[in-house]
């Protein structure tokens, strides 16, 4: 049975300032899963994580157990790095996980380090702006070290592991795992060409696993109750619950740990009290601004990794009217669950302005290393701004589409797609809003309204279960 609304695997102690004290964490059962894990064979832990169907919570949704499996069998110096560089616009869960429950993350990290053989020094790469959370982590790590949960011969197991916090200094790109590794090495945070992937050549040239804060925070519960239990909480190939961060025009924005059985409409209406001021939805970004937005009639899709990628009830993205974007091999792009950052825009939102702000962000954050991204994001924001300022022509709208199509798939890292995908998504679903701003706007040339979608399938579960109790903080 999938999790009920109200099931909390990792956010149960949000709002409780006591939880960050190690004595309280221990009293509530903390670190017992580390003790349990240290008595298990690393291979058994890895198979539990694989069986759990835990999928990376940073944005890609790649199965954590499979990622761990990419380490070379004979690797003798391995690093574990926690990606705490949360900066995807609309995403605000990792910061809260660190602030409210730092020991849960540390316990998850030590267990994971033991499982993958990451002895010695491991790292948490935290965003520079998260100064409060940095201090919380430093204090928690000191406590854990004093109690023998970190350091040499942890709890008599013979396993040595320490964790150090590495502060970033303001660069969105460092959330990209190879840029993060370069930054950790004391370089400019520019992504590396892949392959080789970090599991083969990571930080300091050694095999490295990079996992997100939320992913690692789930590990103690998986050790506690087993991979099968965790998989059962989820849906299909996605195990566990999911933290969604709902922001923008809803009555009750918040960070909610929810089952992956709820549709976007249920999350907005039942969990978040609906759109604010009695208005209607115009657009929803489902998983951080890198993801194509949904239109109002596309909200009856379950917020789960695979459903958002494949559901027929979400229109495929087109870069020009009627021209579908090809992700390679004819694969259509709909959208993705991404980082769980849901941004709701009401029916009075200026879509062109919202789109420009997002493009401006990627332009600002492009590392400048490769041409399609550096130049492309600059053009996207400049042309968006021109249209926003009422100086654009209808041909500029199509120019946006072709620039985006030219970036996607042609940059060193995914930041190129992160700008191109939402750009194409906004054009697909709101093309007329861009056209109407143009100096040469001609309604006769405007594309016909969007094709209707198949109606919502009868939902036999989950429909009435969602309540306001999903609130985690």
């Amino acid at each position: 049975m999938p999790a009920d609304v109200g099931t909390k695997v990792i956010t149960g102690h949000f709002g409780d300032e006591e939880q960050k004290k190690i004595a309280v964490y221990e009293q509530r059962g903390g670190y017992r899963n580390l003790k349990k894990a240290l008595r298990m064979q690393p291979a058994v832990i890895k198979s539990e994580v694989k069986a759990s169907n835990l999928r990376g919570r940073g944005g890609a949704g790649f199965p954590t157990g499979v990622k761990w499996g990419f380490l070379p069998k004979d690797a003798h110096e391995v690093y574990l790095v926690c990606n705490a560089d949360e900066s995807e616009p609309g995403t605000c869960k990792d910061r809260e996980l660190i602030y409210w429950d730092p020991h849960q993350l540390i316990e998850g990290m030590v267990i994971s380090a033991f499982a993958i053989g990451a002895t010695g020094n491991n790292y948490i790469y935290i965003r520079g702006e998260m100064m409060r959370e940095y201090q919380v982590l430093i204090a928690a790590l000191d406590e854990a070290r004093a109690k023998g949960y970190l350091g040499k011969n942890i709890l008599g197991s013979g396993f040595d592991c320490d964790i150090h916090v590495h502060r970033g200094a303001g660069a969105y790109i460092c959330g990209e795992e190879t840029a993060l590794l370069n930054s950790l090495e004391g370089k400019r945070g520019q992504p590396r060409l892949k392959p080789p992937f970090p599991a083969i050549v990571g930080v300091f040239g050694k095999p490295t696993i990079v996992n997100n804060v939320e992913s690692l925070s789930n590990i103690p519960a998986i050790i506690d109750k087993g991979g099968e239990w965790f998989a059962g909480l989820g849906v299909g190939r996605s195990g566990g619950t999911r933290i969604v961060c709902v922001s923008g025009h809803v009555e009750k924005p918040g960070i909610y740990e929810l089952p992956m059985t709820l549709t976007m409409r249920q999350i907005i209406d039942d969990v978040c009290g609906g759109v604010w001021k009695g208005r209607k939805v115009k657009a929803v970004i489902p998983g951080g601004t890198s993801m194509p937005p949904l239109a109002e009639d596309e909200l009856d899709v379950v917020c789960e990794f695979d459903a958002l990628m494949t559901s027929e009830r979400i229109r495929p993205v087109e870069y020009l009217a009627g021209k579908k974007f090809d992700m390679g091999g004819g694969r259509e792009l709909r959208t993705m669950a991404g980082s769980g950052g849901i941004v709701v825009m009401d029916d009075q939102t200026d879509i062109v302005r919202a789109c420009w702000r997002i493009m401006h962000f990627y332009y600002h954050e492009s590392c400048g290393q490769c041409t399609p991204c550096r130049e492309g994001t600059g053009w996207l924001q400049a042309v968006c701004k021109k249209i926003l300022d009422g100086e654009g022509k209808m041909a500029d709208v199509d120019l946006l589409g072709t620039i985006a199509e030219g970036i996607a798939g042609n940059s060193i890292c995914a930041l190129g797609e992160a700008a191109a995908w939402p750009m194409m998504g906004f054009l697909t679903k709101f093309r007329n809003e861009f056209y109407e701003r143009c100096v040469d706007y001609d309604p006769a040339v405007a594309p016909p309204p969007l094709a209707p979608l198949p109606g919502p399938e009868a939902d036999d579960e989950g429909e009435d279960e969602a309540g306001g109790e999903g609130a985690a903080a």
């Binding site: 995807e88 520079g128 320490d162 004391g186 709902v246 950052g341």
Partner: protein
């Protein structure tokens, strides 16, 4: 002019070097410390970091100019980072930002002795938009009318970022 690190900073850098297989990864922490002790990352401050970690000056320069939290110019005590990214924008962040510039007479990106106003990208507080971070203090669900109070509070409770290194 040749700059130096304090004994405390030197000690901190030595301890951090022990966390890594080489000195180079400590460059970001050393830049933070240099910024704290010398107010900004002048050429001399960058040379100090390069010398301390046995790194080429161009490497240190490259790192210092890549990340937005490193600054070549001095800044006011409080660096007020006002997020204007999508979630905050949808709930009025630009009005909040404008209120700061009006109240303080400081341009976006500008600074006086007390305050620097930064238009910041997403600070991961989207559920409480508009959000501001200043040092280790967050201001959440901010409305333009509260800006005056925030400024007054920061005047009596300064939140220098340099405290966190």
């Amino acid at each position: 002019m040749s700059l130096e690190f304090s004994a405390e900073a030197k000690q901190k850098i030595d301890a951090l070097v022990g966390h890594y297989p080489s000195k180079q990864p400590v460059v970001m922490a050393a830049l933070y410390l240099a910024q704290k002790e010398h107010g900004a990352l002048s050429d001399d401050a960058l040379r100090l970091v390069a010398r301390t970690l046995d790194l080429p000056y161009p490497h240190v320069y490259g790192v210092a100019t890549f990340y937005t939290m490193f600054r070549r110019e001095t800044a006011g005590t409080n660096i007020v980072r006002v997020c204007t990214n999508i979630s905050c924008m949808l709930r009025g962040a630009y009005e909040v930002l404008e209120q700061f510039t009006t109240e303080l007479g400081v341009e976006v990106g500008g600074s006086n002795a007390e305050f620097k106003i930064v238009e910041e990208e997403c600070i991961a507080a989207c559920a409480n938009a508009p959000a501001i971070v200043c040092g280790k203090e967050y201001f959440l669900d901010v409305e333009p009318e509260q800006v005056k109070d925030i400024i007054a509070w920061l005047r009596s409770n300064p939140q220098p970022e340099e405290e966190v290194v």
